[in-house]
Amino acid sequence: MADYLEYTLDKFTFKVATDCLYSPAGVWVRAEGDRVAVGVSDFLGQRSGDVAFVDVVPVGTVVTAGDELATLETIKVDIELPAPVSGIVAAVNEKLEMEAEVINQDPYGEGWLAIIEAGDRPTEQAGLLSPEAYLEQMKREALEELGE
């Protein structure tokens, strides 16, 4: 079971799972051998609002870090999520098709987006943030969002 760093601002509490790395866009990455699971951080999910629909690129798609991996349609915005690492999409979370709300309900668990086969040392790719670094980025963004 993952541990979390937490940040509370106003009525919101945002969790950062400590067993993940993070892209600056708010996509988490959890290494599982030569594969990585990816998903949406709790902060990005709460900031974006309840998810209505998710479209993830098909299994077999070759993605380069920064390419579009998925799109989220929420009650507030439409978001294009960039792939946090390069590789081949090995699996997508089919549950999201009928229950997109799990992204908000369980962002680091049942709400995962995709599994990417990323080769050796998949998370040692440029630009990923440690949980502590992402927490600091998240704090800045949260404060900006509330105009403080």
Binding site: D50, A52, I75
Partner: protein
């Protein structure tokens, strides 16, 4: 059927929110066009204020609530006001069934929002019919 036995419709009061606008538009269509004789609108804000007439309305008749977000203010306020929620609709859940009707706009809903409101209004109307069928015979014919 007298006024008190109409099904109460309580939509979201989320101001500045597209889904709130959809909930209210759907409610207006129900009480103005689709089931004018079978429903009555109660403002969520009046329940929040503790308005006696609004509280009596929800306490005396089954209610259908339409919530714009997961805070579910309409459902909660009806319950806190002593009412019975016969069915709660969440705009997001309805949208998930009608993806082609993508709502946008607040003061003025786009075409998708209007279509979603209509679809929601039709589901609410069906729910009103179901609720009234379950009412004891004497109440329905009073």
């Amino acid at each position: 059927m007298n006024e008190k036995e109409r099904v109460v419709i309580v939509p979201c009061s989320g101001i500045g929110k597209t889904y709130g606008s959809v909930s209210r538009e759907a409610a207006y269509r129900v009480v103005d066009e689709l089931r004018p004789e079978e429903s009555q609108l109660v403002a969520l804000s009046m329940l929040v204020m503790g308005d006696e007439t609004a509280r009596e309305a929800v306490a005396g008749s089954p209610a259908i609530t339409i919530d714009g977000c997961k805070l579910a203010c309409a459902r909660k306020m009806v319950q806190e006001s002593g009412g019975t929620v016969a069915q709660d609709f969440a705009v997001l859940d309805v949208y998930r069934r009608y993806r082609k009707f993508k709502p946008k706009g607040i003061a003025e809903l786009n075409e998708g929002g209007q279509q979603l409101a209509q679809a929601l209004a039709e589901e609410v109307s069906q729910a009103i019919d179901d609720v009234q069928q379950e009412l004891p015979q004497g109440e329905e014919d009073a």
